[in-house]
């Protein structure tokens, strides 16, 4: 990717779009706010471990419960262990159950926005083994600890539908990094397993030389995460620490908490040289199939769409100003078709309630053919990113509509700047929902703030100050969960660089493919 991926639109084009937008504003539609937050089924993410066994039937504990001995009882998922029980009924079939669960993100997907409310945990037991008690009522079985969420998992021996003995296994956390040395800008892969299900076990925070770099979660990836940060200078030794975090922040004395096993991981990384500023790089999340059809700006319900017309777009995602072919059939023959872009205008600043409105931006007015078909072309407006709808309207009725996802795009960054002076980062296509309206910014792996594209119609222009010694300095822009206006009680992952956006992004289930942008400047004397 070059540092000028988009050439600036011409003045005439800007004026045309602004005029179109203004005309569209006259067609103001009331904002629709239908609050229906619910856990969204996570998408199928490649490489995520499945459940360790079939879901166990409900079983009640007996009054005189025994205990099970697991050896070892603390290890990473995938470790072999022995489970032994005594004092049970002889000659009985034993089902071994393991407590686990699933985690989903809770989103409120509406026509005019998406709210992010956190996560939902559902707990249950799965069967991980079978055994039979001997003539003395004992059994011993070799098992493999599931590659599961971290933390303590309750194990029950179930006989005749009753939980007769209890044991436990702690799936411990592992963190590795690779490589351990390299020039400035080297991607450092951090691999984490054993992120837990409970709030205080479910996050990890990365510190680089004691600067907050970002947050790692594995809610929809069964406690696993593989993320990247980049080696920041100067040349020499640096410390990378991965702490347990609860509400986005590192828990610095977790040893004194009720979860003392979540001790931090510390690594040394050697920056070998400054080989110059690396080229801008866009890191996309894993490609997944969304699990929910709801898309912003689609007219609520099928009642809004009249007739039997169908429409297709030549592509269903792209950056601003993308040329998109529109084909349709079933339209009223020989009648004009208003092609309109459904979007919103507003912001979340000093906002009570819903401080934005749905608007229609005209894209053109072709005429349907004698057979009711249409072949036309539109240009994606220079506006908000995220999900929009292209609507085909005849005689005031929406005859068909098709969703289109506007990708975030990198425009430019100042390449060389003196220390203490400002430099500019320019992006387009930033969205407006709580899932995609902001980006979190780090400077040399230190979180410095966020940028929002809502009020500026998808434009993000940041004027930052260059600091540090002459040489290469890194600026990384990560997806962020914006949790204000409206604010909900303590949603996790809030307002911080989400390093695990690539596999555990809350918006993935809704088709929000939000990238990270890895940029750099050269500071000169």
């Amino acid at each position: 990717m070059s540092s000028t991926a988009h050439t600036t639109a011409s003045w005439r084009r800007k004026l045309a779009i602004a005029g179109a937008t203004l005309a569209g504003a006259l067609l103001l539609l009331p904002a629709v706010a239908v609050a229906d937050p619910k856990p969204i089924p996570p998408p199928a993410i490649p490489g995520v471990p499945g459940l360790a066994g079939p879901v166990a039937p409900a079983a009640a504990p007996v009054d005189n419960m025994g205990i099970l001995k697991a050896t070892p009882d603390t290890a990473p998922g995938g470790t072999n262990f022995t489970l032994a029980g005594t004092g049970l009924a002889p000659g009985k079939a034993v089902s071994i159950t393991w407590s686990t669960g699933n985690i989903s993100y809770v989103l409120d997907a509406r026509p005019d926005t998406v709210d992010y409310l956190g996560r939902s945990v559902s707990k249950f037991n799965v069967v991980i083994g079978k055994a039979t008690t001997d003539s003395k009522g004992a059994f011993s079985v070799s098992l493999t600890a599931p590659k599961d969420f971290g933390g303590i998992h309750d194990i029950y021996a179930v006989i005749d539908g009753k939980q007769v003995s209890h044991g436990g296994f702690l799936v411990s956390r592992t963190v590795t990094i690779s490589p351990l040395k390299g020039p400035i800008g080297t991607p450092i892969t951090i691999t984490v397993t054993g992120l837990g299900m409970s709030q205080y076990e479910s996050e990890a925070a990365v510190l680089y030389d004691d600067h907050y770099s970002g947050l790692i979660a594995g809610n929809t990836t069964r406690g696993t995460a593989t993320v990247q940060i980049r080696a920041a200078g100067p040349v020499g030794q640096h410390m990378l620490e991965v702490y347990d975090a609860s509400h986005v922040l590192p828990y610095l004395n977790i040893e004194e908490s009720p979860l003392p096993w979540l001790t931090p991981f510390e690594f040394g990384f050697t920056v070998t040289k400054d080989a110059g500023a690396p080229r801008p790089r866009v890191e996309m999340p894993v490609t997944v199939q969304p699990t929910v059809d709801a898309r912003t700006t689609l007219s609520a319900g099928t009642a809004a769409v009249s007739g039997a017309a169908t429409a297709k777009l030549s592509v269903t995602n792209g950056s601003i100003l993308t040329k998109v072919g529109v084909t349709a059939s079933g339209l009223t023959a020989n009648a004009p078709v208003d092609l309109e872009w459904a979007t919103v205008v507003g912001n979340r600043v000093n906002c009570t309630g819903t401080c934005w409105s749905s608007v229609q931006v005209p894209l053109g007015k072709p005429t349907a053919a004698a057979d009711g078909s249409l072949a036309a072309s539109i240009t994606v407006p220079d506006g908000l990113g995220g999900w929009h709808a292209v609507q085909l309207i005849q005689n005031g009725q929406v005859k068909a509509q098709v969703p289109f996802f506007v990708n975030r795009s990198f425009v430019s960054i100042t390449k060389t700047v003196k220390a203490g002076q400002k430099f500019t980062i320019h992006l387009k296509g930033v969205g407006w929902t709580q899932v995609d309206n902001t980006l979190a910014v780090t400077y040399d792996n230190s979180y410095i703030g966020y940028a929002c594209g809502f009020n500026s119609q998808g434009d993000v222009t940041m004027n930052l100050v260059a600091t540090g010694a002459p040489g290469t300095h890194l600026i990384d822009l990560y997806p962020m969960m914006y949790t204000q206006s409206p604010a909900y009680p303590f949603p996790p992952l809030a307002m911080m660089p989400l390093l695990s956006f690539n596999r555990d992004g809350p918006g993935l289930a809704l088709g929000y493919n939000l990238p990270a942008f890895h940029l750099a400047i050269t500071v000169v004397k």
Binding site: I155, G167, F169, T352, G353, Q457
Partner: protein, 171 residues
């Protein structure tokens, strides 16, 4: 361009609509009156100030928690009321009061006594359980049993509590 957008934003800003905050359904209330019980028990667990393993001595003794490390002492505490008389549960009306713990062969007998300094120290039922260093991790499905001198029996278990609220053994 900027001016046009500013006008547009202003125009739309005046037309903004507000909506009610997130609507949430209230939880279904329990029916009233509820089931009648002859004995009411309050039960909690606190940390023994002087566990057998000094390495896991709590920073603050007698502090309420459901998370205990191996080697610590769990102090089960209980207060009770006989609902038909309104009398507190004491040795005067209790025949026995004990706790059963998975893997512990002999039930643990709760004793009634004063706790704390001073003449107004509260009296309640307690028993300590020293957690073995190899006790299984995870939830402890303990139960308390009371038999009154008039023959009434009652028990307490953690059934219905969230897993994260139950007595839990940690490394």
């Amino acid at each position: 361009m900027k001016r046009l957008l500013a006008v547009l934003t202003l125009a739309i800003g005046t037309a903004m609509l507000t909506s009610s905050a997130l609507a949430q359904n209230p939880p279904t209330p329990n029916p009233f009156p509820g089931a009648k019980h002859q004995v009411f028990l309050y039960v909690d667990t606190v940390q023994n100030s002087h566990p057998k393993n000094p390495a896991v001595t709590p920073t603050v003794g007698c502090s309420q928690t459901n998370f205990f490390r191996r080697g610590q002492g769990v102090v089960f505490r209980s207060w009770g009321v006989e609902t038909k008389t309104g009398l507190a549960l004491t040795p005067d009306n209790v025949r026995y009061f004990y706790a059963t713990i998975p893997g512990v062969a002999t039930p643990l007998k709760l004793n009634f006594g004063a706790h704390g300094a001073g003449s107004n120290a509260p009296w309640f039922w307690t028993v300590n359980w020293d957690i073995p260093n190899d006790y299984p991790l995870g939830i402890v499905n303990y139960k308390l049993f009371v038999r009154m001198k008039d023959g009434t029996r009652t028990s307490f278990s953690q059934d219905g509590l969230a897993a994260t609220s139950r007595l839990t053994i940690t490394p």
